[in-house]
């Protein structure tokens, strides 16, 4: 079945008899894209599943008040973005640790072949992305991986387009530097 438009989904959702059906379609329509975004931030599959579920539960509870002039995807993305940041904050509080320890934990997941099937260069890229501060990482993921426009990103994060451009520019420079340094180390390492 082809994807329904936002207005079609919302019309179905607002009828009591098709409410659950419409929401089921909405989940099917957006789950992959939101999963990828969350997974790149959280890295662990089980934790990603929890955050994704919370995202959709919040969407279920708030969809009645959703303004039709906004884009449904941007709205869902914003919920997912906030849920990711909340999850990372909880992780820091729960483990009583600083950001570095959390990053170490997140990158450890990448080492497991059970979670990660990419090439070595992709693993290096993910490790470098993990080293970015939480909000800058989200900006990088939205632009580099999901190809969102700055205007969309501004709606999602509540940050100005100028600040987002600047944040992405800095993130790209950092990652390029880290990935290149890692590659240089690998080529110099005796086999």
């Amino acid at each position: 079945m082809s994807d329904l438009s936002d207005s079609e989904l919302l019309t179905l959702f607002r009828k009591e008899e098709s409410r659950h059906y419409a929401f089921n379609l909405l989940v099917r329509q957006y789950q992959r894209r939101l999963y990828s975004f969350i997974r790149r931030t959280i890295t662990d599959h089980d934790e990603t599943q929890d955050v994704l579920q919370n995202t959709f539960i919040k969407a279920w509870n708030g969809l009645d008040g959703f303004r039709a002039d906004a884009q449904l995807y941007s709205w869902l993305y914003r919920i997912a973005h906030n849920e990711c940041l909340n999850h990372l904050r909880k992780m820091k509080r729960g483990l009583f640790v600083n950001s570095d320890t959390v990053i170490e934990r997140l990158t450890t997941t990448l080492d497991s072949s059970e979670h990660f099937s990419g090439e070595v260069i992709q693993q290096k890229l993910q490790r470098a992305v993990m080293r970015l501060p939480d909000k800058q990482r989200a900006v990088f993921n939205m632009k580099y991986f999901d190809g969102l426009k700055y205007e969309q990103m501004s709606t999602i994060t509540g940050t100005s387009v100028g600040a987002l451009k600047s944040s992405y520019h800095i993130a790209v420079k950092k990652i390029e530097s880290w990935v290149t340094t890692d590659q240089t180390k690998d080529t110099q390492r005796p086999s």
Binding site: Y35, I57, E119, G147
Partner: protein
Amino acid sequence: MNAHDDTNELRSAPTLRSIPDVDPFVVPDGFFDRFPQLVQQRIAEDRLTSQRWSWSLAGLMRPAIGGLALITVVILTWVSWPTSNGDVRQAQLATYETPDHVSDDLEADEVYTALSSDAPLLAEADLTLSDAELAEYIEQEEIPLDLLIEEL
């Protein structure tokens, strides 16, 4: 080259541009087929939990409302209960003896007539004052002399 990002930012990042655009994270088989069902289950569970919560809240409120009603009744009773002066008056009323000439089985108009017959008794009472008593009263009350003359 990354297919998503065609902006100028990657011009100065050749390594980043060269990385293939694939999702490297492993997703368990059939996850996206099962996930919508999991979300529906969570919605149903959340609804049940909120219903249970509202029931248990009502269960907790019921004795509290009962207690509050009891306290209100006690306070109202306490406020409307006769004071000690009232008690004395109640006791006086209880011990009040009906005059002999007023029988318990009289009708209302007969009671009025019987009580009216007390008037001669009042007339018989000694209400006259001696001159000395009258002078003392006038002095005590400091009645102005001109007013007294006018009265007389």
